[in-house]
Symmetry: C2
Subunit: 235 residues, 2 copies
């Protein structure tokens, strides 16, 4: 096969870049709504909250879609990023676990937006099964494999209690799923080839607490000493 693309595109966009593309896409959509036709890397970088050199390097991994002296065509760049991210096709998403979080996710507007569609909802609780959300009846978890198969689900969101998460993961993987978004606070063990992304509220809070504490320490100049273990453990 001939290597058509410029060397930048051969294969493999850095993970750090992929993680930022959604950010750029959102900023671009905002610009498009306001009717902006072209944008410079500098302005887009400000809108996305990143350094402009980084933005240009990120975009250069997709190809050479800018015009020197002018900037980037907003609509065209939206299309190119969407295509790269695989948003020009529709992804059928299943949500497992229709508790508070599952409901929030199902109702989340940006969810249904470009490229994603809630195609199935599952719960183990018979009090919830049958309930309708966003025009979709909740199926019993027993139906997991058959419904996933029937509706062409390719991404599964796990919003169950921590104790159920691994079991759900095992089942959906056995059913052929290779992309999982996990909200349960556990480390999922999965075979190679399966992508798991984790969203973890308490982790984020803990990281914030760390920095908040650092700021407080810096002001008072009195970090806690290392020797106070025994005392503190009494609490």
């Amino acid at each position: 096969m001939i290597r058509r693309m410029s060397q930048a595109r051969e294969r493999g966009i850095p993970d750090a870049t992929v993680a930022r593309l959604p950010l750029y896409l959102r900023a671009l959509n905002g610009l498009a709504e306001r009717g902006t036709a072209t944008v410079s890397s500098e302005d887009l970088a400000v809108a996305a909250g990143v350094n402009s050199a980084k933005l240009r390097k990120d975009l250069s991994h997709l190809g050479s879609y800018g015009t020197r002296g002018v900037g980037y065509d907003v609509e065209y760049l939206i299309y190119q990023i969407s295509r790269e991210l695989g948003l020009t096709q529709d992804w059928a998403v299943a949500i497992v676990g229709v508790g508070n979080l599952g409901r929030a996710l199902a109702n989340y507007g940006g969810f249904v937006s470009r490229g994603f569609r809630v195609a199935a909802l599952f719960d183990a609780d018979n009090g919830v099964v049958g309930e309708r959300l966003v025009g979709m009846a909740v199926d019993h978890i027993d139906q997991l494999e058959s419904v996933i198969d029937k509706r062409g689900v390719s991404i599964v969101v796990i919003a169950t209690p921590a104790t159920a998460a691994q079991q759900v993961a095992d089942r959906v993987i056995a059913a052929g799923i290779t992309s999982i978004l996990n909200f349960a606070p556990v480390v999922l063990t999965v075979p190679d080839g399966v992508d798991v992304r984790k969203v973890d509220l308490s982790t984020e809070l803990q990281i914030l607490a760390f920095h908040e504490q650092r700021k407080a320490d810096r002001e008072t100049g009195s970090p806690m000493m290392a020797g106070d273990w025994a005392e503190a453990m009494d609490a």
Copy 2:
């Protein structure tokens, strides 16, 4: 001031390390519940899903808390990590926006767990104000500054619609808050010294979609061509 600590502790733990400490903490809590007294870096690394050398290096940034030939004392390490993360004190957290997501967050068990306490709930909708959740009445957003001050809130979770997020951020920052966890899909602009962490569902889904597409491309060997813009834009 005398530099007491070993050189590893002088100041500044790498961000990448800080981001993993909550993970280790969770794994350790699991071990503690099962009654394990000591654990090797190898076993803990498996439980946390990371490389053991990385785990040891991460822990070495906190100090030298292991015993060669034995491993780490589980309880002691839990305490040290908790202390480093600032979880030995209680953080009062306010949730702004009591929609589906806000409710899910307020009810989230792991939230209230070690170190964090929901101290205030705010909403702009008078239909929601006054409602009780987790033993806490929802206050009107007008009361934001006074309630934050009165209850000693130091971390704010923004779970509002995207359009309201920046405004809420501006107000809580003016009220002295320097740590924000943002669930709204917007880039918040904040002054130096304010930490913002973002949790973004659609970003995560888009990253998954990217990898899912890559897998599909690899199988069929037919990535979409770059020239099809005009056609695709008709859709």
